[in-house]
Symmetry: C2
């Protein structure tokens, strides 16, 4: 199961280096970001928004809102929700959802490579960032 | 004078597309980011932290803290502050500061090119992001 956070702890000592965050905006603001892709991947694994949100320590309502936001902004829904049953029916990632996951993951991987490349170019002698940067 | 914000208004309708934010971490957390570089550039133009912070609608105390954070984390100070006088003395961007501005600007420009390239590769037919992405 992929990690839900970039850092293992928010209190961990920072590691010097080139950092960043990426996302894709739609017509209403954020369309896809790292957390949303993790949510899609968990829905694919768990088959329900309830289980997916629990596995990420995310409130069900928040997860539902994120899925709704993605579905509203996409040309075709990324997640199909079955109705009815106690606690709602199951949820399924569509083919459009699979393509969205794949494309964001590629964007994300390319970005990690970009950051490494930029950092390396900025400190060619291997010194730590705060020593080399100024 | 460069713009202090990425968007002209926080209430503007979002434009679909690939977006992101970059910064450089030092030993204490953020070392250099977009706002800090704008502050350095304003100090260079205005010759004082007071004037620079005013031109960015930033509290003097906040600007001072950002400069102090950069100076603490850099090998050599990025800003030299003259002491004394009403409202504090002047401030000057050092050679190390000039190098920091230049390198962050290059990182930033490379990142804008990266985002454009990724967006183009993801929608080769020129459709808008939310149409093309899923």
């Amino acid at each position: 199961m992929p990690k839900a956070h970039h850092r293992s702890s928010r209190n961990a000592k920072p590691t010097p280096g080139f950092r960043g965050r990426i996302w894709i905006d739609g017509s209403e603001g954020t369309f896809i970001g790292y957390g949303r892709v993790i949510l899609l991947e968990r829905i694919r694994e768990q088959g329900s928004i309830t289980k997916a949100s629990k596995s990420m320590q995310m409130a069900y309502r928040h997860a539902w809102d994120l899925v709704d936001s993605m579905n509203r902004q996409a040309k075709e829904p990324l997640v199909e929700m079955a109705k009815g049953g106690k606690g709602g029916g199951g949820a399924r990632v569509t083919k459009a959802g699979e393509r969205a996951i794949k494309r964001f993951r590629r964007f994300y991987d390319d970005f990690q490579s970009f950051l490494k490349r930029e950092e390396k170019n900025s400190s060619p002698d291997g010194r730590t960032t705060e020593e080399a940067f100024p």
